[in-house]
Structure formats: C-alpha cells, structure tokens
Subunit: 344 residues, 2 copies
C-alpha cells in the first residue's frame, strides 16, 4: 500500500538502517549515499511513519489540546496560536472538546496519553489532585490554572477584575454584581476573590450571582437576578455572558450603560461589534496558546524547574459602562430604575 523504508532501501541498494539514518541521523551516512537515498525517497514519495518511529523513540510529535468548548469564542484564537506554534516545531495537535465535563477531561487525557508528547489542559474543570495524578502519566501544561509543581500559563484575571471593579466604582457605582462562571473554574475563583476584595476596599456592595454556564444563555438568564439585586454595574465571568446579559437587560427594558453598566472578560472578537460595544478585560489568548506549547516542548529539557508563565491583562473601556447613580443623585430604596419595574 504505502511506501516504507524498505522500498526506499531496495530502490537505493542499501540496508534499511541506512535509510533510517539518512532521515534521523544524516551525519552518520556518507554524503553520496545520502543523496542517493534522498533521491529515491523523493521519487517514491516516501514519508516516515511517525507512529512507528514513536513506538521506539517515545516521541510522537503530537500534542493534545483539551478545551471545555471549542465553540466558545475564547478558545479558537488560543487553538489557532497553539496549532501554529506546534507546527513550527513540527508537531501536530489533537483537539478535544469536553463540554465543560470534568469526567470527560480525565477520560480524554488518558485516551490521548499514549499518542502525544504532552497535553495542554485549557481552563480545566477537574480537581487539582486529579490533575496532579494525570501529570504523572503524561506531561501536562495547564492554562488558566495554578497548581504547585505543574507547569502553567496563567492570565492575570485577578488584576483585570481589580481594574474592572475600580473602573466601575470610580464611575460612582456603589452596588455591583458579579456574574460568576462555571463551578471548577480557577479563573472564576480568581475573579471572585479579586472582585470581592476590590469592592470591599472601594466600599461598594457586591452581589455574587452564580455559578452559571459560561455562555450567552448563561448571561441572558441572570439578567433578572441582576435587576432584582439592584446592582447598577456588573462584572461578568466572560464576554459571552456579558453579551447575553446585555441582551437580557435590554429585553427587560433596562438601558446599558444608562441603567446598568456591564464589563466582560476576554475581549473576544465579538465584543467590538456588539452595540453597545463591550467594555472588557482583554486577555492575551494567542500568547497563552503559544506559551503553553513552548513550555510543553521545552519541558523535556529541564524537568527540575516547573515554570509558571504569567500574562498581563488590560482593561479596554468601550461603551457598555457609564456613570453610576453617584453620591449626589443616590437611587433611593423604592426608586424604579428600569421600566422592567425593578427597585434598586
């Protein structure tokens, strides 16, 4: 069927081991022989079988990339960057979608383990202990998570959340809401921790709503909760939820940012295109994808140090945030702040 090393050996009149060396250790073969072998290989269309090679070398030149939801716009830029970086190093990537299901994550890591040199676990939902255990079976790099002893690339969402809350408080909002993300998300915990501390420092009230599925629908369905809580500004776990939330608020008759300000996180492409344009915390997803691949591939060289890469985030102020009720025009209890009939 397919052309193997034996065919090339036969065609060029050398032993298969010489053909093998021509490709994997060229300096060991005589230049003349080498070029003859290469010519034959070229002519026959020979391509080394990586799986066969991996069997003996232990290196597959494959990487596993596991994400919670491919269709979540946060991930495609990360996947794209990782794939591109991987191919620069002659690696291919398996992509698996775990549907936000921790059990599926474990299953997929194990299923992939034998065919990859390592796995990138992006925003994993499983427990730290399980991740530690898996990392003994296959090299792991986690993205958006921090676990002692596991190489990681994390984005500074805590700093982003702090700046977002400060921004809102600075606009005069005294009652904030945090629409949190899915259970098991390290990012969500970080945001919550940072937002809580920052709100307290700014002397603002913070209502936490969640956990919620990190989707547009997840945001849409909490619009009522936000209004009922009387918050005039909201930080959402991600842009998708923020956008859904805005839809929900508008549907309920509340204006954005007139009645309620909304900040998202991620700065997905979408966020520049909705109306109002979304104020959000930009996360460097492409850089994270590249960095994660680099760490995974470098990891073999130096098992002693487990690096933790930290990437900065940035608050991008657009049109979904505006001044709050402020001290001089306080929203009295009982005031209707939206045609939806919700009291602040």
């Amino acid at each position: 069927m397919s052309v193997t090393i034996r065919d090339v050996a036969k065609a060029s009149g050398v032993h298969i081991s010489t053909v093998s060396r021509t490709f994997s250790a060229p300096h060991l073969v005589n230049p003349n022989t080498r070029s003859r072998v290469l010519a034959c290989a070229e002519q026959l269309g020979y391509r080394p079988n990586r799986a066969a090679r991996a069997l003996i070398t232990g290196r597959t030149y494959n990487i596993g990339l596991i994400v919670a939801d491919i269709a979540n716009p946060f991930f495609p830029p990360l996947i794209k960057a990782a794939e591109s970086q991987a191919r620069k190093h002659d690696h291919h990537i398996f992509v698996a979608d775990t549907n936000e299901d921790p059990a599926l994550e474990e299953e997929v890591v194990r299923a992939l383990a034998k065919q990859v040199d390592g796995v990138l676990l992006c925003s994993p939902r499983m427990s730290n202990t399980l991740i530690e255990q898996l990392s003994r079976e296959v090299p792991l790099v986690v993205v958006n998570r921090q676990i002692a002893g596991i190489p990681a690339v994390a984005m500074d969402v805590a700093g982003g959340a702090r700046r977002a809350v400060d921004h809102l408080a600075g606009l005069g909002h005294r009652h904030l809401a945090l629409v949190s993300g899915p259970r098991g998300s390290w990012t969500s915990r970080e945001i919550r921790r940072s937002a809580t501390a920052t709100a307290r420092a700014a002397n603002a009230e913070l209502t936490i709503i969640g956990p919620n599925p990190p989707t547009e629908v997840g945001g849409l369905t909490v619009a009522e909760d936000v209004l009922r809580a009387g918050a005039t500004a909201v930080l959402a776990y991600n842009d998708l939820m923020a956008i859904g939330l805005i839809e929900g608020l508008l549907a309920a008759g509340a204006h954005v940012p007139g009645d309620v300000s909304v900040v998202g996180i991620d700065d997905i492409m979408l966020s520049r295109l909705t109306r109002p344009k979304l104020t959000t915390v930009a996360t460097p997803t492409a850089a994270a994808g590249r960095a994660a691949v680099d760490m995974l591939l470098a990891h073999g060289d130096d098992r002693r140090t487990t690096a933790h890469v930290h990437l900065q985030t940035e608050l991008v102020i657009r049109d979904s945030t505006g001044p709050g009720p402020g001290p001089h025009s306080p929203a009295d209890p009982g005031d209707v702040i939206a045609p939806g009939g919700v009291a602040s």
Copy 2:
C-alpha cells in the same frame, strides 16, 4: 515506564496473545480467563497503545480535520460537531489550520496521512486535481466542494444566494453588489454563479467585487468599492465580511439598511448580536461536521459508491436589509446617496 500488554500477561499468567484477544476479540477467550485478564489490566491501569495497534491493523482511530482558519467563526461549530461525532465512534481528531494557503493544505494532508484513517478537508483552496491525487494517498471527504469521485458534503449555498438575491430584488433593489470570497473557494464560485443568474433573471445589475480575504477586514476594505459602484444592496461571501462591510459603510456615513442593504452567509453566532442584526443565509455547519465524519467512517464499508450529501440552507431575514429605491424613487445618476460623497 508505561504498562504494556506484557505486564498484564505476566500478572494474569497468560500469553500476551490472550491479553490482546481479550481486548480486540473477546469472544475468542474463555470468560473466566477474560475476567481475570480484565481485572489485572484494570488494576495495573493498562491502556492499549493505539499507535502500536495501528501499525499492524492499519486503523489508527484518528481523523484529520483541515480548515482554512480556526478563528473564523464559521469553523468552530463544525469542528465541535465533528469532534463530538468522531469521539462517539472512538476516534480522535487532529486539527490543522492552513491559513487559507493551498500549499500548506497539501503539506498537512501528507504529513497527517499516515496517522489517520482519513482526512476531512473543509472548504479547501487547492485544485481539484491535487485533491484527487491526495485522495489516492488517504481517504478524503471534502466539505463545501464537489468533485466527481470524492465523497463530499456540500451546503446549498447556491440556493441560499438565489433566495438572498431574490429577497433583495423583491425589496426593490436594482443594483446589487456581490462581495466575493477568496480565490480557490468553491463556495465563492457557487455563490457567484447563482447570484449572477438570479440577478439577471430579476433584471437587476450585479457588480462583483473581489476576490477578497474572507475576514472582517476583507469586508471593511471593500465598503468604498460598494459605494463607488452605486449598489444599494450587497450579498457578501460570509457573515464576517458582511459585518466588516457594515462597519465600513457606517464609517463612511451610509446607513444600513437605509442606504445599503447587506446580506451575509453562514449565520454565525455573531450575526444575531450585531446592530443592525444581520440578514443572512444560515448554513448547517454542525450537521456538516457530523455528516462528514460519518461519511469518512462509513467509507471503508463501501468504496464503490461515493456519496454526496447535500444540506439545505435557509434565508434568515433580520434587520440589515430594507426596501430599495424602488421604481417610483429611482436614484438618478449623480445623486448623492451617502454623506460620504459617493455618487450612485
């Protein structure tokens, strides 16, 4: 390092071939032996090495999925559906991004060929002859392309384009523009063919602008061309371009749909969220992903018939299209149709 079939054999006191059969032909081994082997395997954490198995069986249980641009919102739902469907059949998928580069497509197919049972070529940009050639090296299914002898799943974009043009003509637009997609795209050719024929039948003028990169920027940059051409309605190759185009039109001072109506194709998630909401031709991307995987996996059974699956599209009318100048208020040559100072 890793636990192999030999470890299990030793632990359960049988020959490796019996262990092998326990997993790949259970009916051939005595129930008692089988359960003993399974118990040992379980206890040792044994997992068959698929690459090793593939070496001898020729089945890798992997699929290659090649797309032009992962970050293009059209693809993620397709990838997600394909991945999910593949895993239902116990297959894993490699994802490769070719950056709209035909040469890279060829390279990637060849690089992946040995490690997969087949490749899904989504919206390929390379030539038919090259695809035919590659399909002799590895089972191929093409998505959004039709080539005799190659299994394909195609969406009825021609029908979609027809309905879109009819919609616009029906609104009274006499001068349409088609913002076409990238060179090498079958979809783009289909749209062009269908739009041209439909416009002629409707007795409307059609200006073709392109080829263009199928991105938001690609749409944005042709806004001026559209205005200069004097078209009052536009069909874009995809939603991303349509959205970029709308941005460009608004920036140039033209109203949408007041001055120019815009129709996209794909109905990506984004299109419901922009303002104005985009009128578009919805394509069944998830269904396409599933169907493509099914065809690839079924293909082995029945090499004689090369199926071509055809999926319907649907015109979704939202807010980016409106009445044209109509017969009673024609836009005279010289009329300024937009503050941008463009004559129709």
